[in-house]
């Protein structure tokens, strides 16, 4: 296995992908909270984002000042090419394992 994505890392990457141009700290947190129905600490989220950035799966840039948050800027995130590749690889692996399952997994 070339790349390893933790479960939470994968979720964060997917959430950023879902948000498109509007992915920054709070929006990612809200998105995850809505989609997964679980509480996510802002500290843990930013730690994960930082690590993903270190792994070069994410790129970031600072946006302009905004009125609603005391004039402070936002840092936007987007998937890089290798981030996309990592997601695809993870998905492929899952699909492969699903296909090979000997017992019936989905209740269909």
């Amino acid at each position: 296995m070339k790349t390893y994505l933790g479960e939470f890392e994968e979720l964060v990457l997917l959430a950023i992908a879902c948000l498109g141009d509007e992915a920054y700290g709070v929006s990612i947190q809200q998105e995850l909270q809505i989609q997964c129905d679980r509480n996510i600490s802002i500290g843990a989220l930013h730690s994960t984002i930082t690590r993903l950035e270190e792994k070069k799966f994410l790129s970031s840039w600072t946006g302009g000042a905004t009125a609603e948050r005391g004039g402070r800027s936002k840092r936007y995130y987007a998937l890089t090419q290798s981030g996309r590749k990592a997601l695809v690889e993870t998905k492929n692996l899952r699909d492969q394992l699903w296909a090979q399952a000997k017992i019936k997994l989905s209740p269909r």
Binding site: Y24, G25, V26, Q29, S41, I42, G43, A44, H46, S47, I49, T50, R51, E54, T62, T66, E68, R69, G70, R72, S73, K74, R75
Partner: protein, 866 residues
């Protein structure tokens, strides 16, 4: 006004993050705050803000951003080879530039490490002990704890009667080896009276341990009176190793046929033997003697376990045996297993060969550390003192993007380079002291201190570790310097709060040196006192000749004719080593125990022991039967009046004895021991030595040739064995001399380290004050004034060190020296005084050598350069 997030939390976050870029994080928190404010209460929003703030503070995100903010973002925190090369290059340049300090540091560390190297070589030896056997991890010995009444002893031995039971009851034992180590005797018909010692054992010994035979069969130890010699022993007796088939006679033990020759075994083993003798020699009655369950001091059990061996099996077997045998006896024995590799460091009393107790290693280790640590302190001291000189370099490095850990690494590299140089020095010192050290030890001949790959590895580890310990604080200090202050030469010494810590270190070092010097003084005085101790008899110019079973009276006459001999006497031993005891029974009073010596009528004259009252022995031997001489202590201890002594009669071994005289007291035991009851008796059959009082001539060689010629008339086969009594006496004080030597060496080491440290400090401070001194001189200060000014501070330190050192020395003295056996001495005020004086003189010389030199400088020279 709109509500704002809690101020304190904001401030705390800003303070914690410093100059890191966290604007977006604060924005996120604020956004969440406003979302919460919209949906929930104010206090909930506040609480959440705090929570988020704390979560972020402890998150990796902030940690990373803080780290990034420390340096320019082009600076790299990675360590590249090129940089390490640069560190080494800079280290060499800076060491070369400050040669003087470098040499001081290297010398100090070399001395400091040399003792540790010695310890490491010893450790290497002990660790390699018995590793050459085929299955060292599966060989065990049985040790015992023997309790008789309140007396409890731990023995390395166990009854060999265990063997049979072990073999039958425990299947997982491959070989069981019995050893009895009492084989010792003189080889008959040998010219030089060779001795031989070894073990009684059987063939399993050779099968279990890896001691290969170079000649002979593996069944060499089956028949009674079979013997296997080591190569060395065969060479000693026969001069060659082709001896299988020959016989060797051992006095009082019998004739043994040689059935094998053993290759000389390596030194790293806990066994020590010259010969292996078949156990069957001891006979069936010995082997089956049930008394051996309780008395087994010389019996040892080893066994080789099979692979499926479990320790629990044998422990339950031991429990069973203990119950079976010792249930109703007053002797209790508890058996325990001990693996082969641990035997050499075990503390058990009656080891089968050489042993190096762990406790000894610990003491040695502490001493080594006490020598090494001050050397490290020196380095730390000098490096920190010179911080100012390096500050600019560090400032520039930091400005160029050098990171904290890189600067740290640079200085550690420098220290490690110094330590590696010092290691070479320490190695040279080790070569020098190793032989001396070995000569002082009891088991020296079995100790192998040569260097192996493993010890070299440990040596290098030691150097690296020393480098790290010595360089840690300087490196930490330098890496924390603020570049702006450093470049402006405004380095504050907050970290080390002026000179205080360095002063503490100096005081500590000198207190330690003071203790070493003090012990040197005490040992020296002790040794001197013993050498010049008045024993109460003549000890100079006495030659003692071993009779070696020749006729005493004949020798006496022959030796008395030799020129230069003033008086000749016969005795059973020397007055100092009389160890035979006798009970004098009295019908009325209690029996009296006394030390006895058999002498003839001229003995008192030869040794110049005075008679207080009564008569000496008669020249006619037959008149001396049942007569004794006693010493004054004999009277005093038993409360006998001088005038009554001749009416007392004593029984020795059932025979009546009459006191015919009282001699003046003399010491027959070394000084710390008090004088005890002493009895002189007369018995021609007991004489073993001739004592000659010779005149004080310089020509000792002539005297001995004459003595040899006289000896030839009595015995053709044997050689003359003659010795000066005083040499013999001094030899018995070897332990004192070794203590003196050891303390001396350690004292010199510790002191030279302290002196080097002091020298470094003094040189540094005087160099820094050269301009001040020059101005003082131009304004009229005298050389003496300036020397005093510069030395004052260090003198104070020295005095302080002595004040601290005295209680320390007393404490050490109480806890260590009083525990050395055969060593009793008091610590005198004069010793303290002498020690302090020695330290002061040496310290003063060190200080003034530098301060005086500085004071002599011409102010014109030093002032004009600005």
């Amino acid at each position: 006004m709109n509500p704002q997030p809690p101020k304190l939390a904001q401030k705390l976050f800003d303070w914690f993050c410093g100059n890191a870029h966290v604007d977006d994080l604060r924005g996120d928190m604020e956004e969440l705050f406003f979302i919460n404010l919209k949906n929930k209460s104010r206090s909930y929003a506040n609480k959440q803000y705090w929570k988020h703030m704390l979560q972020l503070i402890f998150s990796y995100a902030v940690k990373k951003r803080k780290r990034n903010a420390q340096h320019h973002h082009y600076s790299s925190s990675q360590i590249s080879i090129a940089m390490v090369q640069n560190y080494i290059k800079v280290a060499f340049r800076s060491l070369y530039q400050h040669r003087y300090f470098t040499i001081l540091n290297i010398a100090g560390l070399a001395i400091g490490m040399s003792i540790s190297l010695l310890l490491i070589s010893m450790y290497g030896y002990v660790r390699s002990a018995d590793n050459f056997h085929t299955n060292p991890d599966r060989i065990y010995t049985v040790v015992t704890k023997r309790t008789e009444g309140i007396e409890e002893r731990e023995l390395a031995s166990s009854p060999i009667l265990l063997q049979e039971k072990l073999k039958t009851e425990i299947a997982s034992i491959a070989q069981a080896v019995p050893i009895v180590n009492t084989f010792y005797g003189e080889i008959a018909n040998s010219k030089d009276q060779l001795n031989m010692k070894g073990y009684y054992t059987n063939d399993t010994f050779l099968k279990t341990f890896n001691f290969p035979l170079i000649d002979g069969s593996a069944e060499a130890l089956q028949k009674p009176y079979s013997i296997i010699l080591t190569e060395k022993c065969a060479n000693k007796i026969f001069g060659n190793t082709h001896v299988v088939g020959k016989t060797v006679e051992v006095k009082e033990l019998g004739i043994f046929s040689i059935t094998g020759v053993l290759k000389d075994y390596p030194k790293n083993t806990h066994f020590s033997f010259e010969a292996l003798v078949s156990l069957s020699t001891l006979g069936n009655s010995y082997m089956a003697d049930q008394q051996h369950w309780y008395e087994y001091n010389a019996q040892y059990n080893y066994f080789l376990a099979a692979e499926n061996f479990k320790e629990e099996d044998i422990q339950s077997f031991f429990k069973k045996i203990e119950k079976e045998l010792y249930a109703n006896k007053n002797v209790k024995v508890e058996y325990e297993l001990m693996p082969l590799r641990e035997i050499i460091t075990s503390e058990e009393g009656n080891a089968i060969g050489p042993k190096w107790e762990l406790s000894g290693f610990i003491v040695f280790g502490i001493i080594a550390l006490l020598i090494l640590l001050p050397a490290c302190f020196n380095y730390t001291n000098i490096s920190l003192a010179r911080a100012l000189k390096r500050a600019k370099e560090i400032g520039i490095r930091k400005t160029m993007g050098g990171q904290k850990n890189q600067i740290f690494l640079q200085f550690i590299t420098e220290t490690v380079v110094v330590c590696l140089f010092a290691l070479t020095g320490a190695w040279l010192i080790l070569l020098f002291i190793r032989g001396e050290f070995q000569s002082m030890l009891v088991h020296a001949s079995t100790l192998d201190l040569s260097v192996s790959g493993f010890t070299v590895f440990l040596f290098i580890c030691l150097a690296l570790l020393t480098g790290f310990v010595a360089g840690f604080f300087p490196a930490l200090y330098f890496s924390r310097l603020n570049p702006v202050e450093a470049i402006k030469s405004k380095v504050s010494n907050r970290f080390w709060s002026g000179m205080r810590v360095r002063k503490y270190l100096t005081v500590f070092q000198f207190s330690l040196s003071f203790c070493f010097i003090l012990s040197l003084v005490v040992f020296g005085r002790q040794y001197h006192e013993i050498l010049h101790f008045d024993f109460g008899f003549q000890k100079e110019n006495i030659v003692v000749v071993d009779l070696q079973n020749t006729k005493p009276e004949l020798n006496k006459t022959l030796f008395s004719q030799v020129s230069g001999v003033e008086s000749v006497s016969l005795s059973s031993g020397s007055p100092i080593s009389a160890s035979s005891h006798v009970w004098l029974e009295n019908d009325v009073k209690d029996s009296i125990a006394a030390t006895q010596l058999f002498i003839d009528n001229t003995f008192l004259q030869t040794f110049k022991i005075d008679l207080v009252v009564g008569n000496n022995f008669d020249s006619q031997g037959s008149n001396n039967r049942n007569k004794i001489l006693v010493n004054e202590t004999f009277l005093a201890k038993n409360k006998i009046r001088l005038q009554n002594i001749f009416s007392e009669s004593y029984k020795i071994d059932g025979e009546d004895y009459q006191v015919i005289g009282v001699v003046k007291d003399f010491h027959f035991l070394p000084p710390p021991h008090p004088i005890q009851n002493f009895v002189f008796r007369y018995d021609e059959t007991k004489f073993a030595y001739v004592n000659l009082l010779v005149n004080n001539s310089d020509n000792v060689f002539n005297l001995f040739t004459n003595l040899e010629n006289a000896w030839k008339q009595t015995s053709q086969e044997t050689k003359l064995k003659a010795k000066f009594f005083q040499d013999d006496l001094n030899e018995s004080y070897l332990v004192y001399r070794y203590l003196l030597k050891m303390a001396g060496a350690l004292g010199v080491f510790a002191l030279s380290i302290s002196v080097l440290g002091l020298l470094g400090m003094v040189v540094y401070t005087t160099q820094n004050r050269i301009k001040e001194i020059s101005i003082r001189k131009t304004l009229g200060a005298s050389i003496f004034n300036i020397t005093l000014l510069l030395s004052k501070e260090y003198l104070r330190l020295l005095l302080f060190a002595i004040v601290v050192g005295i209680p320390l020395a007393l404490f050490i003295y109480d806890s260590i020296f009083t525990r050395i056996p055969d060593y009793q001495s008091d610590l005198r005020i004069s010793d303290l005084f002498l020690g302090a004086l020695g330290l002061l003189i040496i310290g003063l010389c060190t200080i003034t050598s530098q301060t005086y030199k500085t004071a002599l400088l011409n102010p014109a020279e030093t002032l004009k350069s600005e």
